[in-house]
Structures are given as C-alpha cells and as structure tokens.
Amino acid sequence: MKDPIIIAKNIHRIFGKEGGVVTHVLKGIDLEIREDEFVAIMGKSGAGKSTLLYQLSLLDVPSEGTLSIAGTDVLSLTESEKTSFRLHNLGFIFQDYALIPDLTARENVMLPLLMSNHTWEDSKNAADDALGKVGLGHRLNNHPNALSGGEQQRVSIARAVAGKPEILFADEPTANLDTISGRQVIDLLGELHKTGQTIVMVTHEEEYTRDCDRIIRMEDGKIVA
C-alpha cells in the first residue's frame, strides 16, 4: 500500500462572522488519501462534499485544521505559493468545464504548461498529445463555443492532466453532461487511474463510482463512511 499523499486533520470550514449568520459546513474532517488512489466523495446536496474538495485542492482555506499534500504543509503557503503549488502538483476538472473562451482547445491545454516554463513547441506537443488521448485530436483549433459539452469537458480533462499533476481533482465532472458523454468522461478518469493518477472526485451519481477504489460518504459536514 502506498503512502498517503493527502493528509487532512480536523478540517473545519465555517462561513460567516460572529454576530451574523454562521454556517459550519465542515465539522472536523480527518482524511488520508493515498498515492494512486481514486476516491469518490459522495453525499447529498449541502453535505459539504464540494467544500471539502475546495479545501483539499487549495482553492479555499479551512477555518481550522491541518493539511499536508505531498509532504508540504500547504496551509502555511502564501497565495502566490499556493498558485504555484496548484500549477505544479494539482489538476482540476470543473463541473462546467471552465475553459477560456478566447483560446482554442489546444491553447487552453497549453496555458498551464506554458506557465510552468515549457516552451511553446513543447507545450503544443504535450497539448496535442493530451487532446489526442481524450479523442479530440481533430478539434485542436476549435474554440470552446464550437465544442459540445462532452468535448469541452474532455478538453478540461486534457488541460488538467497535460502537466502530469500528482493529484487530479474533479468537481462533479459529469453533472452537466448527458449519459453517454458522462460515461465517456468517467471512462477517461478510469483510464487515467490505471496509469497511476491519484484522483479525488466529487459526484452524487453512484453509477459513476464503479472504477473508484474508495467512496467517502458525507453527511452534514462529516464523513460518515
């Protein structure tokens, strides 16, 4: 069994300020995710699954607790260091694809690669390769508005994995897709997992968790299973 790559201890997330409306969304989450693991976080709406994903992926800051990713105490990083950490270690797939509409599919994938010091040529080759693997080798120069929802999500996956991140976070990646496109996306994630990619996915659809190693079930801000 491999070592944990994510170690979260006593994670709390509280919204609002004293004297106003205070919402305690995460209530002392303890969690370890191992390298190569494909973990699904499930729960009803409002259970806190997306909020937990945001804490683990450094998009939000816990109100309390400690978080270590790949041996780094990530909560001690500055905003700029967190951005750099995300660039080099984490990949993201968002529910609504989150592509940059002004860029082509290829340029969307190239963007983080260019940011991490790859040359234009290297970035282009890596982007073409990643888009080829998600079946979009023929859509390299299309802008997002010329792609279907499923295709956009596959571009988003290509962008997330092109830089070979240590952990891939997916926030309900199939929520906006039809069944066939959703299945294709889950299959892609399954294939990535087989190559050793650590994946943390939030979903509320049980049928898409069959490739997962583990399902974390949440209820009212706590892990219940």
């Binding site: 660039l87 940059i100 963007l111 260019l114």
Partner: protein, 414 residues
C-alpha cells in the same frame, strides 16, 4: 518571464475575440482623446502663430531695417538699398516712408459748414507699389477696387479700419470716414499742405498694421511731406525660400549697416509678448487637453473594469489552474495598451497627414488671424507617451482590483 508570455497571449486573444465594433468604438474614443490633447493646444497656439505668420508675410518680412534709436529715419537709405541688391539670398525688399495725416471725405457734398467734418487721422505710408507687392502681396489684400499702379498719381489705398462700414463693429475705437468707396475723392492734409486723392482700393487684412494704414506712391509721399532726403522709415526684406534670416542679417551687419540702422530678423523684431502669449496658450491648451487625458483614462478604466468584472469567473479559473496573478493583470494592461496605442497612432496620423495640412490651406477664420493648427512633432510625441503611460495604469488598476479577489469566490461568483 512566463507571466509576460501568458499575459501577452491572453491579452492578444481577448483583443482578437472581442466584438469588432466595440473595439473600433474604443479606439475611436482614444483617438478623440489624443486629438483633444493635441488639437486644443495646437489651435490655441496656431491662432497666435497664424497672426504672427500674417504679420511676417504681410508686414515685417524676414528681416526688417528700422532707424537707430536716436535717429528719425534710416541713414543713407540709398546705400543700404544698393547693398541689398548684392545679397543673393534676398528675394525682394521694400522701403516705406511713414507719417501721420488728416484724411477728409465727403467735403464736396458738405452743406452745413458749421457741422462736423468727416475726417480721420490716419497713418500714411509711401510705397513703391511694385516692390511692396512683391514683398508683402499687398495687392492680394484689396477687398474693393484695385491696387496702385506704378505710373499713376493721385490715387490712394485706404485701410478698412478707416472706413466706417468696416469699423463700426468696433464702436468708436477707430477714427473713420463714412461711405467711402473706390472712385470717391478724399483730401489728405499734412504740414499745411492738402492734396486730393481718388480712392483706388480698400485694404482688408487681419494684420492691424496693414488695415490701419493708407498707402500712396512714395514719390507723392515725399512731395507732400517734404521728405527729400530719401531717408526711409522702414525697409522690409523677403528672403529666398531656404535662406537663413540670421545669416543674411549677419551679412548686412558685416556690410556696416548696423551703423546706419537697426537690422533685425523677424524673430528679433517681434514683441516679446507674442512669444509669451504663445507659451501661455500652449500651457492653457495642455491644461484643457489634460482634462481629455482624465476622460480617456476613466474611459479605459471603465472598459477594463467591466471587461475584467464580466470575466471574473475566468480570472478565478486561471488562478485555480496556476496562472499567476501578474500574468492575468498583464492581459488587461495589454488590452489597454492596444486601445491607447492604436487610438493615439491614428490620432497622430490624422493630425499630421490630414488636419495640419488641411488647416494650413484652409485656416480657421478668427477675427484677428487666420488660425492654423500648430503641432510640433516632439510635443505630440510627448503627449502620445503621456497618454499611453496613463492608460496603462488605467488598465492595470481595475485588473488588479478584480484579480486580487479570492479565487474560489471568483469562480463561484460570490
């Protein structure tokens, strides 16, 4: 370095994908901002410069010779005129003889001998009509009647300010004659000598020295005023197109003319207040134009702010996938730079290739001058740079305000 690269890529792609008409409109606004900055001061200074040029072309020429401080007339005028003929850079010259006289009109029709006479105290200048016209194009200022003929005698040109239909708009400022037209007879009285002249033409120039004057042939002038010494009051010199006034002045000085008269270039001869007014108008124009800079900067600020605000989620996503904040900010600065640079460049081209040549040939008809658009390339370049730098800040600030927001809040639209 990578941030610059990414910033340029994002900025250029946003420009490329932006609505074409919106882009044209923004560039147009920036062009107007630049024109406002350059043209306002250009017109104000040009208004004075137009007047100065007119004085130079119609009155004082490139070099002007006047009596020494303690003399009434230019000494040894003949010698000076002969020497002028030997200087190759001199295209033409005219000697003027000046005095004051009383001009009377309508005296033949006057029935009431106790009533007020129709008189005006006038400046009178004796000229060689041909030479004067060659230097100052006086004939082109004749608005009624005709110019003087070299061989004719008994004719006079009257400046418009001495005729009431032209000067009535100025109230009682000018001493004027009523109802005088070409062909009418007027009586000139000086030193107790009176002589009748037929009005040959009316001189209409925006140069006061020209319009507030009367002209008769120099031979008649000398007879009336008893000026038999041939000592001129003023000699005006026009130079060949590429000749240097300073060089010609120095040549005349080397000939010893400074012992006989005061020899000055036009620049030296013009009153200091003219240059002071030009500087004042330049400052005034820059001040008014700077309001345009503020307006342009606010325009860019609003455009970039709305642009960044409408892309707030995109900005959050970019930060989420690891794009540095400064790269995102640069993308918006690139857009501001593009709008500002393109607009100003078009403004510059419009100024130098259209407006300046146009107003040179079609001056603005101000009451006291034919106003041109005076824009110095260096001044325009400085204004270009100032506008550019200020709009960079105007583009950066809104981008910075939006990009510094919490990444997750930006993505979720909170």
């Amino acid at each position: 370095m990578q941030s610059i690269y990414i910033g340029l890529l994002l900025g250029l792609r946003q420009i490329q994908r932006a609505n074409w008409w919106t882009t044209v409109l923004i560039i147009f606004v920036m062009m107007l901002t630049f024109l406002n900055l350059v043209a306002v001061s250009g017109v104000l200074v040009g208004l004075i410069e137009g007047a100065v040029r007119a004085v130079k072309e119609q009155s004082l020429g490139d070099i002007v010779i006047t009596p020494l401080a303690d003399e009434d007339r230019i000494l040894d005028t003949d010698r000076i005129l002969n020497e002028l003929d030997t200087v190759p850079d001199i295209a033409g010259y005219t000697a003027r003889y000046k005095a004051a006289a009383l001009l009377e009109a309508n005296y033949r029709e006057r029935r009431d001998l106790r009533g007020e006479r129709d008189t005006a105290t006038v400046n009178i200048t004796g000229i060689d009509p041909e030479r004067e016209n060659a230097v100052t194009h006086l004939a082109s200022t004749i608005t009624e009647g005709e110019y003087l003929d070299e061989e004719e005698q008994g004719y006079i040109l009257i400046g418009k300010y001495y005729i009431d239909r032209y000067s009535e708009q100025f109230g009682d400022i000018f001493d004027s004659l009523s109802g005088v037209h070409p062909g009418d007879t007027v009586r000139l009285t000086a030193n107790g000598v009176s002589k009748e002249f037929i009005v040959k033409g009316v001189v209409d120039s925006k140069v006061d020295e020209v319009s507030l004057n009367t002209y008769i042939p120099e031979k008649e002038f000398r007879r009336i005023f008893g000026r038999l010494d041939y000592g001129a009051d003023q000699i005006v010199i026009a130079l060949a197109p590429d000749a240097s006034p300073n060089a010609v002045r120095d040549t005349l000085v080397r000939m010893g003319q400074r012992d006989l008269a005061k020899v000055e270039t036009f620049e030296e001869a013009q009153p200091k207040f003219i240059t002071d007014i030009k500087k004042t108008f330049d400052v005034l124009g820059t001040f008014i134009g700077s309001i345009g800079i503020v307006v342009g900067s606010i325009t860019i600020f609003i455009i970039i702010f709305i642009n960044a605000l409408s892309r707030r989620r995109q900005i959050g996503i970019l930060k989420a996938i690891g794009i540095e904040q400064k790269a995102i900010e640069l993308a918006y600065v690139v857009q501001a730079a593009f709008y500002s640079f393109t607009g100003s460049l078009l403004g510059m081209a419009l100024t130098f290739f259209v407006l300046v040549p146009y107003f040179d040939t079609h001056p603005i008809n101000f009451p006291f001058s034919d106003g041109i658009l005076l824009v110095e390339p260096l001044g325009a370049t400085i204004r270009f740079a100032v506008l550019f730098v200020i709009t960079l800040f105007a583009g950066f600030i809104p981008a910075w305000l939006i990009a510094r927001q919490n990444t997750l809040n930006a993505i979720l639209g909170r």
